[in-house]
């Protein structure tokens, strides 16, 4: 089998060449620099950097907060997607468009807005302060910021899945005597579960790498991994920063793999 099918269309050589060159120059070589830098560090230094208590705390915060935020988004994202697909109400089109706001908004802007909103004299913060609940500058603030960031991922992944659902299956369930709740639990949820998991994983992966929205609402003692990498770079500890970054990249890669496996698994059992 040849490497490329014959085609009458021109331009393959030119476009492919430009694509590969630009890709290599801008993406592949810089990323290679990262791996080479972390490889240039001795194994002892590498594991010291990666298992440093500060780093461990950062991993725990990053993975924990991202998981909780993605879970919140999975739950509410399902509700939002359901109402947007199944119901009609005033302002639905407007709300549908605004769901993409976290995609479009620069992270620095959402960062300061959320920090201000949940700080002691912010609109939400001042409501909760009398109860002793402090959201800003704590891990709860981090979770709030990461929820904001991941919101569109779940909704936008679920909407097509819900739209594609056949009403006939639900009608069949109803005609066989299922209550609405039973239909939801045993017919609808299983068929959108792959999309839900994909959306969850996408939100999780995005939250892991998030920097701008989080740095304002967290604090010196609550550092997520990107913030830790940034601090290391400020201190010119390039080797340590590279080591931690490699751990992050490997984790993201595993998540991406999980997403692909989930989609493959769902296709196996799809009707």
């Amino acid at each position: 089998m040849s490497l490329k099918q014959r085609s009458v269309l021109p331009g393959f050589g030119l476009t492919m060449g430009c694509t590969l060159s630009y890709l290599s120059l801008l993406v592949l070589i810089p990323l290679a620099a990262l791996f080479l830098k972390s490889a240039s560090v001795t194994w002892a230094d590498f594991s010291a950097a990666v298992t440093d208590p500060e780093a461990i705390d950062a991993y725990k915060l990053s993975f924990g907060a991202s998981f909780v935020a993605a879970a919140i988004n999975a739950f509410f994202g399902l509700i939002v997607a359901w109402t947007l697909v199944r119901y009609s109400f005033v302002g639905k089109k407007f709300i549908d468009a605004v769901v993409d706001l976290p995609f479009a908004m620069p992270t620095a802007v959402s960062g300061i807005a959320l920090a201000q909103l949940y700080s002691r004299d912010g609109w939400v913060g001042r409501l909760l302060a009398p109860y002793g609940i402090e959201i800003a500058y704590s891990r709860w603030g981090v979770i709030v910021a990461l929820t904001f960031i991941g919101l569109p991922f779940v909704v936008r992944t679920l909407q097509p899945a819900l739209e594609d659902m056949d009403m006939e299956v639900e009608e069949a369930a109803a005609s066989l005597g299922a209550t609405r709740w039973q239909t939801l639990r045993r017919v609808i949820l299983p068929s959108i579960l792959p999309a839900l998991l994909t959306g969850f994983a996408l939100a999780f992966a995005r939250a892991l790498g998030e920097y701008g929205s989080v740095i304002f609402i967290s604090s010196k003692w609550e550092k997520v991994v990107p913030m830790l990498i940034f601090t290391k770079l400020e201190q010119f500890e390039f080797g340590e920063a590279a080591a931690i970054a490699v751990v992050m990249l490997v984790a993201s890669f595993i998540i991406l793999l999980f997403i692909n496996l989930t989609q493959w698994w769902s296709r196996r059992y799809a009707t």
């Binding site: 021109p10 331009g11 509700i79 709300i95 992270t107 300061i112 909103l117 929820t147 990249l249």
Partner: protein, 301 residues
């Protein structure tokens, strides 16, 4: 027609049929309420807060914050970075989409995965790779130092980092669209004697124009709003700031100006986000028309 049986439901039967697959009213009200509350809390309030804080010191203070020299130079830098990154990545996106969508070759899915890399790495890592290349301990430092070219804490680094993070946006939009549209039209044009450029200009481009615009809008929004990668590249030097960086400096009190000023500059970015959303909705509608037309087997306009 003879032989068909028309099934006519009474309105009561039809209502019961619909009721069987609809939730009761209280459930619907609850879910819609939950949706509005959740989105209101997480989406709308931050957005409204930006504008409210920006104007909290009055209109004059708002305009003063925007006329401040540091703010103006930050705006200029942001526009410059976008003006360089967006056209280059658009051109690249078109070339890559052409190579991927119109030809079959080994390794295509690997290439598509590689194209997505900048999209999936953290912005801090994106900035860091350029510091590793061009920074003080970087590969190219000796060479750069010799010719006194300092990329890292200079506009060049900002532009490179912006190009990196916005790299896949146009390609990601165009590839599915062009794949759905197939190659028949281009092949027909080729058979009729069109050259490569004519092919592209008169056959492909009209078909992809909405998707292309959509990709450009997203690319631009990301280019102007990029914060993490640029932050890493620039460090704490005052002379080269983009708008997001300037917002950070104002918020942290490191620049002349206060909270209201920080939100004033942020409000410009928020307006950019809103415009992006509006254009996005419009173009999404146009593109899905084209996409579904292509999937159905014909391209109209």
């Amino acid at each position: 027609m003879a032989g068909t049986v028309a099934l006519r439901l009474t309105s009561g039967a039809r209502q019961r049929a619909t009721d069987a697959v609809t939730e009761p009213l209280w459930v619907r009200a609850l879910l819609i309420g939950a949706t509005l509350t959740f989105l209101g809390l997480f989406l709308f309030m931050p957005l409204v807060l930006v504008f409210s804080e920006a104007l909290s010191a009055g209109w004059l203070a708002y305009l003063d914050a925007l006329k401040d020299p540091d703010a103006l130079s930050a705006i200029r830098m942001t526009l410059l970075a976008a003006a360089v990154a967006v056209p280059i990545n658009t051109l690249f996106g078109i070339l890559a989409a052409w190579a991927i969508a119109k030809f079959e070759f080994v390794g295509k899915s690997v290439l598509i995965t590689l194209l997505d890399l900048p999209y999936s790495v953290s912005p801090v890592i994106a900035g860091m790779v350029f510091v590793l290349l061009f920074g003080r301990q970087g590969w190219f430092w000796p060479w750069l130092d010799r010719y006194d070219l300092h990329i890292v804490y200079a506009p060049c680094g900002i532009i490179l980092a912006t190009m990196f993070v916005t790299f896949p946006f146009v390609a990601r939009e165009l590839i599915p669209l062009m794949q759905a549209q197939g190659t028949e039209e281009e092949e027909a044009a080729r058979v009729l004697g069109a050259s490569g450029l004519q092919l592209f200009r008169r056959v492909t481009l009209p078909n992809i124009k909405w998707g292309l615009l959509y990709g450009v809008i997203l690319c631009n929004a990301r280019a102007m709003g990029e914060f993490g990668a640029v932050s890493v590249v620039v460090g704490n030097i005052a002379s080269t700031n983009t708008m997001p960086l300037h917002v950070e400096r104002l918020y942290k009190g490191m620049s002349s100006g206060d909270l209201a000023a920080a939100f004033a500059v942020a409000s410009l970015l928020a307006m950019l986000a809103l415009i992006t959303l509006v254009l996005k909705s419009l173009l999404q509608w146009k593109t899905s028309e084209q996409l579904s037309a292509a999937e159905l087997g014909y391209t109209g306009d």
